[in-house]
């Protein structure tokens, strides 16, 4: 390995280390106050190598989910509980890469207004189902 490569390597590590320290600060804050913190990896000058190093270090924990709306998204908890990875894809490329420090990433929770709509739809569907049953009983 040339000296230039080594210098480059040290620089990479420096980037990842700094990021991990930022995550630690955020996690301590969340643990103490319950306020969630979000870090946008897209805005950081990270190389593919940095990203891979970060992935390896944070690893995966207990939860993994896939969201299918306007394209695919992947969410998983890292081996550090409360530290989540959120990735949105566009055309199979990572469009958004976030670290969220929270009880649960907001994108996973159902929106209350969506719930209102779905309650309405459920009610309609239920009514329809019952009506169908009643008709079949009558016949």
């Amino acid at each position: 390995m040339t000296s230039a490569c080594l210098a480059q390597q040290a620089q990479n590590d420096a980037m990842v280390d700094a990021l991990l320290r930022e995550i630690l600060v955020g996690l301590k804050h969340f643990a103490a106050t319950g306020d969630s913190v979000s870090i946008d990896l897209g805005g950081l000058p990270m190389s593919g190598r940095d990203r891979a190093a970060l992935d390896v270090f944070l690893d995966a924990g207990e939860v993994r989910a896939t969201i299918e709306t306007v394209g695919r998204s992947e969410v998983w908890e890292t081996r550090f509980s409360g530290v989540w990875r959120v990735r949105h894809f566009a055309d199979d490329q990572i469009a958004v890469d976030l670290i969220e420090i929270a009880a649960c990433p907001k994108i996973l929770s159902a929106d209350q207004r969506d719930a209102q709509g779905s309650a309405r739809r459920l009610e309609e569907a239920l009514d329809e189902k019952i009506a169908k049953t009643e008709i079949s009983h009558e016949t």
Partner: protein, 357 residues
Amino acid sequence: MKHDETLDALIERRGVSRRAFLKYASYVATLMALPPGSAAALAEGLAKAKRQSVIWLSFQECTGCTESITRSSSPTLENLIFNFISLDYHHTLMAVSGEAAERARVEAMQANKGKYIVVVDGAVPTKDGGVYSTIAGVSNLQMLEETLRDAYAVVAVGTCAAFGGIPKADPNPTGAVAISELSGGKPLINIPGCPPIPEAMTGVLSYVLSFGKLPELDHFGRPKAFYGETIHDRCYRRPFYERGLFADGFDDEGARQGYCLYKLGCKGPTTYNACATLKWNGGVSFPIQSGHGCLGCSEPDFWDRGGFYRPLPTPLGAMGPALAGAAIAGAALGIGAAVAARSHRNGASATTGKDKE
């Protein structure tokens, strides 16, 4: 074509969850490097916004900008924007044609008076009353003036609209000008590039939609989020520049090693754009990554800066005749001075004329 429905309602009607807003808002926040946490506010803003009426005018242009923005393989994140806007007039894309098309434009203008956004691609010829480009018998000049009158803002997409671009290139036979020269004080956003990066367009429109104001712009009216840094500053080949490692040709060892393309005329150091970070075709590559220097297409007059392969620090223009002339004149003056000095010292002029106080 009046748009009373909120995007919130629209999205629900289309059977998509509000996660789409949040996801899209994260995307725009990332694109525009907004502070962390602003995604939620952006999502809220989007939900409450009405569908934005957009009138897209195409003047002296090549349709490359439209291609850039509409081209996408699958209906995903980036083109969710087309759900949030109502493209009420775009004569390349719209289904109707002829008088019906022009009627659509006029109707949209009336229905959304003071609220619609005009997007323009292409420069406007002004010479000879603007006869060099007309649509349905109306000159570009006239159509722009008419459409802008009740617009909320104007977005100049592409370098031709933003700076005059290729139509304005020397000798500019049609007297083409940038939209900024004709926008008459309307809020203006320039999104230059040949073509511009689609994400810049998406991001800016979403920002306007969500926050109801223009994003921060630089002195050329370009959103700083996308045009805040030079290609050179964010270029992955930058370390080679710093170390003085350059490709001297497109097929030499340096080129193969991926060295800096500065010597081959790369305009990265003076070009403000996001190509080096967002890249093109869904993040696949950008010109420098493909082995060619930056042309500087998002800068004014990029066509007339001495050639794409002329290195940045070299002088522009042919200096030969000027320098040859100067050399001859200099030599003549030198000989003249020596002759004058000889005669001056031999003659009496040191003691005559105005030398006497």
